[in-house]
């Protein structure tokens, strides 16, 4: 039984990764950049899960996706704490305005 062609999963994952990379490159607000990183991690997870359905005995791809989720949650918690401190210090959350070393 092959309900959905798995190449489509891979293409959706590639598209999500590319859009996330565009968000990271393009946006100036720190939190939107974090959202772009989450999008990239989700694209990678889609890829892992798409391959993992052919491995129902060990499920290595799904286990890796699970650990990616755990690390992403920890990463976003720490990153938002750092963003809060940066905002308290500089009173801004736009990345291009954090140029103290350049001045």
């Amino acid at each position: 039984m092959q309900p959905v062609d798995s190449h489509l999963f891979l293409i959706v994952g590639a598209a999500l990764f590319s859009i996330g990379l565009a968000v990271v490159l393009l946006k100036r607000h720190v939190i939107v950049v974090l959202m772009g990183i989450e999008l990239m991690l989700n694209g990678v997870n889609v890829n892992l899960v798409a391959f993992s359905q052919y491995d129902p005995d060990r499920l290595q791809g799904q286990m890796l996706a699970l650990f990616v989720m755990v690390v992403a949650a920890a990463e976003s918690a720490v990153a938002l704490a750092i963003v809060l401190q940066v905002y308290r210090h500089f009173r801004t959350a736009q990345l291009d305005e954090l140029n103290e070393l350049k001045q």
Partner: protein
Amino acid sequence: MIQLAFYAFAGLSLMGALAVLFTRNVLYAAFFLLLTLLGVAGLFVLASADFLAIAQIMIYVGGVLVLVIFGVMLTHKPEPPGDSNSQQPNRIVSQNRSGNGSGWILAVFVTGSLFAALFTLLARANFVLLTQPVGWQSTVNTIGKQLMTEYVVPFELAGILLLAALVGATYLASPLAKSSRNATR
């Protein structure tokens, strides 16, 4: 029918991601990210990963997205008084980098070429694995067994990592850290 559901979820997630890219309002971007995460959870179900779909909804939608919205709210520069009108939508604007258009060109070039390369690679690739039959069965049993046998070391490490992240985030975000930093400055 399953094909239709797949295209619906894929379209939902891709549209949400594109809306995150194109919207200027940070709060709207957070809610479009919610659409994307829900679509990805649906894709997980269609790839017979039921446990991961639930974990995606609970961790990302219930945890990460709430954190992100808290972050948006806490880093909001308040409007000057007298200007705040309750009829106005909540505008927290994210500018684009180097807004004279060169930023767009660079980002579109880099990510477009990356996607084109990946697309041609995936369209031409002939994975032997992907021609095998797959079956629908619940993965909860297997994931539980794997977590306790083959992946027990990463499982425990994940616990330590989460504890460290919890303590670190609490310490970093607390105003105590600010006063000690001011003392050392």
